[in-house]
């Protein structure tokens, strides 16, 4: 059997960085997509680039964005979190834009990308992933803001 996860107090189980708690799962899935998208794009570009150049270049771009999101979520510093927010936003815009493009003009995509059909080839995970990523990052932005407020108000009290 697995062990029970310690004390039930919410404070004790609170994750202490973007890579713990739900972030652990998020980074695992991001890492998987980073590997899958970049490796797939590398093989496609190396072996049959002329077959579907737009699709393969978009796959490569998606791969780079996933790698960036995985690394910045795992690092979790304030600067890394800002880059992670940009990566997740680009991903969300990308999956919606490329999804729509691929449905409207299938001729440009003779071979699928991670984002074509809104990520339908990957169980729509590419559509859901950036949403969870942004929600997770927003929680951290809020927490840091409230901590900063506490620190500055304590500092102000100290000078009075």
């Amino acid at each position: 059997m697995s062990e029970p996860a310690g004390s039930p107090e919410p404070g004790a189980a609170r994750p202490d960085s973007t890579r713990t708690g739900p972030g652990r799962l998020l980074i695992a899935v991001y890492g998987l997509f980073a590997l899958a998208a970049t490796a797939r794009a590398a093989v496609q570009i190396a072996t049959k680039f002329d077959h579907a150049p737009v699709a393969y270049l978009l796959s490569a771009f998606a791969g780079v964005v996933y790698v960036l999101a995985t690394i910045t979520l795992a690092v979790g510093s304030p600067a890394a979190r800002r880059i992670a927010v940009v990566s997740c936003s680009v991903e969300l815009i990308g999956v919606i834009a490329i999804g729509t493009w691929s449905v409207a003009d299938p001729a440009t995509f003779p071979d699928a990308t991670v984002w074509s059909g809104y990520g339908s080839g990957y169980g729509f995970v590419p559509l859901v992933l950036p949403v969870f990523g942004l929600l997770w990052l927003r929680r951290w932005a809020r927490r840091t803001d409230s901590q900063r407020t506490i620190v500055t108000s304590a500092g102000r009290r100290g000078t009075e």
Binding site: P4, T20, P22, R24, L32, V43
Partner: protein, 124 residues
């Protein structure tokens, strides 16, 4: 053209889905990583290595899929799935450790379907 015995990929699909189900149950019950999950990951690892061996033997026999590069990529990446998930999940001391293991189980099952698409001689 002879086929790779479909019993191993089928077993991996069933084992992967069962592992994912059990791990998700642990997440739902707010349990952290335990020995049962690590042992199950070990079984999955052995099954994947057996399959890699069988496919490599098939390649050594001179048969080739349409995209050799893709197949080799899968053969290299596959054994890392339970290993990386095990380390990454064991570092987590909350319910989210088993959630990572659930992903590994699902990925193993999906990989079998993808392998069959890459090279139909690998039965499911």
């Amino acid at each position: 053209m002879s086929c790779v015995n479909g019993a191993v990929p089928t077993t991996i699909i069933v084992a992967g889905l069962a592992l994912a189900g059990y791990a998700l149950l642990m997440t739902a019950l707010n349990r952290r990583m335990g020995l049962v999950l690590l042992a199950a990951l070990g079984v999955l690892e052995i099954l994947l290595l057996v399959l890699v061996g069988m496919v490599v033997a098939k390649l050594a026999g001179g048969e080739r899929p349409a995209s050799v590069a893709t197949l080799i990529g899968y053969l290299i990446a596959m054994p890392f799935v339970p290993l990386v998930a095990g380390f990454w999940g064991a570092m987590e001391r909350s319910r989210w450790g088993p959630a990572v293991i659930a992903v590994a189980g699902l990925v193993a099952a999906v990989l079998m379907v993808r392998l069959h698409e890459i090279w139909p001689v690998i039965g499911v």
